[in-house]
C-alpha cells in the first residue's frame, strides 16, 4: 500500500515529470523543423484523504480493488515568467529567519502559517500593514509572545571584525556611552559585521563614513563585508534594513605607534575597543 503524503509531494512528482517531458520535446526540436510542445495537462487523481496527528492533510493513492476513493482533478498549463512572478512570493521575502528560529513554538508557527506568515520578514510586513493586536487576534498567537519575538529578533550588529586575524569587537557602547571604537591599520580595507538580519526582503544595510556612503561588498542574514577607503577614520554609521542605526568610532592607527598598546589577548568580551591585527582579507 502506498504511504500517504502531503499534496505538494504529489504535485511535485507530476510537475517534475511534465518538465522532463518538455525537456525531451525540446531536445527533439534540435533535429526537427517542427516540434510539439506540451500545453495543457490534466489528471484525475483517485486518492484517500487523510488527516495526520499534526493536523496536516495527506493523500494516499487508491490501490487495486480499493473502492470509495475521492477524485481530485488537477490541471497544469504552461505559464510565462511574468505569470510566475505575479503569482508567487518574491525570493527576497524568503530570505529571512524562520518563525522557529525566532523562538516561537511549533503550534504558534502553524497558527501564523494559517494567515500566510512563514518567516520574520512576512510577520513584520503584516504588522506594518495592520498591528500586532490584529495579527495576534487573527492567528490566535499571544500578543505578548509576538512582541517579545519581534523585539529579540530585530536586525542588529553583534560584532565587528577587521582583517583575517583580528579579534571581534563587540557592538557595545564605550565609556560614557560613546560609540564602540574600531582601530584600523593602514592597508586594511575591509570590515566584517556579524549579527542578525543584516540583509532582508531585498533590503541590505547601508554604511557611511562621516556621511560619505561606502560600498557594501557582500551581505547575508548573518554577516556583511564593507569596503573601507584608504584613510579610514571618522564616524562609521551603519543603517540596518529596518532603519535603525549603529555608530562606531573608526580610528586609523599607525602600526608603529599603536604597537605598545596592542592587547593581543583581547577577546570579544574583554573590551569595547579591540586592536585590529593581520593584513589579509580572508576571514576566520
Amino acid at each position: 500500500m502506498t504511504v500517504a503524503a502531503p499534496i505538494e509531494d504529489f504535485l511535485e512528482a507530476i510537475t517534475s515529470q511534465l518538465d522532463a517531458t518538455q525537456d525531451r520535446l525540446r531536445l527533439k526540436a534540435v533535429n526537427r523543423p517542427l516540434t510539439f510542445a506540451l500545453k495543457d495537462f490534466a489528471i484525475d487523481l483517485c486518492v484517500f484523504v487523510e488527516l495526520d496527528s499534526d493536523g496536516q492533510i495527506r493523500l494516499r493513492p487508491a490501490g487495486p480493488n480499493e473502492t470509495g476513493a475521492s477524485t481530485i482533478n488537477i490541471s497544469f498549463t504552461t505559464v510565462t515568467r511574468p505569470m510566475i512572478e505575479e503569482n508567487t512570493i518574491s525570493m527576497e521575502l524568503t530570505q529571512s529567519p524562520s518563525l522557529e528560529e525566532m523562538g516561537l513554538a511549533p503550534e504558534e508557527t502553524k497558527q501564523l502559517a494559517r494567515v500566510g506568515v512563514h518567516n520574520v520578514a512576512q510577520l513584520e510586513k503584516l504588522r506594518e500593514r495592520t498591528d500586532e493586536q490584529s495579527v495576534a487576534r487573527f492567528s490566535g498567537v499571544d500578543v505578548g509572545r509576538l512582541r517579545h519575538a519581534l523585539q529579540t529578533n530585530r536586525p542588529r550588529i553583534d560584532y565587528v571584525q577587521i582583517g583575517s586575524r583580528g579579534p571581534s569587537t563587540p557592538n557595545r557602547p564605550g565609556p560614557g556611552g560613546a560609540a564602540p571604537r574600531l582601530q584600523v591599520r593602514p592597508g586594511q580595507s575591509q570590515l566584517r559585521l556579524r549579527g542578525q538580519r543584516l540583509q532582508e526582503g531585498g533590503a541590505t544595510l547601508r554604511a557611511r563614513l562621516d556621511g560619505q556612503e561606502i560600498p557594501v561588498l557582500a551581505a547575508s542574514l548573518t554577516h556583511a563585508d564593507i569596503a573601507l577607503p584608504d584613510i579610514a577614520a571618522g564616524t562609521l554609521s551603519i543603517e540596518l534594513p529596518d532603519g535603525s542605526r549603529s555608530e562606531f568610532d573608526l580610528v586609523c592607527d599607525d602600526p608603529v605607534v599603536r604597537e605598545p598598546t596592542v592587547d593581543a589577548g583581547a577577546g570579544p568580551d574583554d573590551s569595547s575597543t579591540a586592536a585590529a591585527e593581520g593584513d589579509g582579507e580572508g576571514w576566520e
Partner: protein, 83 residues
Amino acid sequence: MKELSETVSELIAAFETPDIPGAPVAVEAEVETMVELSFVFTGGEYVALAAPPSSRFVSGLMAPVQRMRVRATRSMPADGENP
C-alpha cells in the same frame, strides 16, 4: 510501469508524421485517455508512474484508472530557442 514523462512523450510522439514533402502535418493534439497512475517513493522523492489501463487483465486486480488529458501544439522553434 513507465514514468509519467515517458508515457506522455510516447503519446505525443504518436502524432509525429514522417518528414516527407507534402505529407499532412498535425499541429495540435488533444488526447483524453484512461491511465493507471501510481506513485512510488524512490531516491527520497515521489515519482509518478503511468501506463495504459491494461495491467488489470494481467494481474486480475482492479487497479484504479484515472482520466488523463494532454494537449500539445506543434510549432516551429524560433531562432535560439533550441536547447
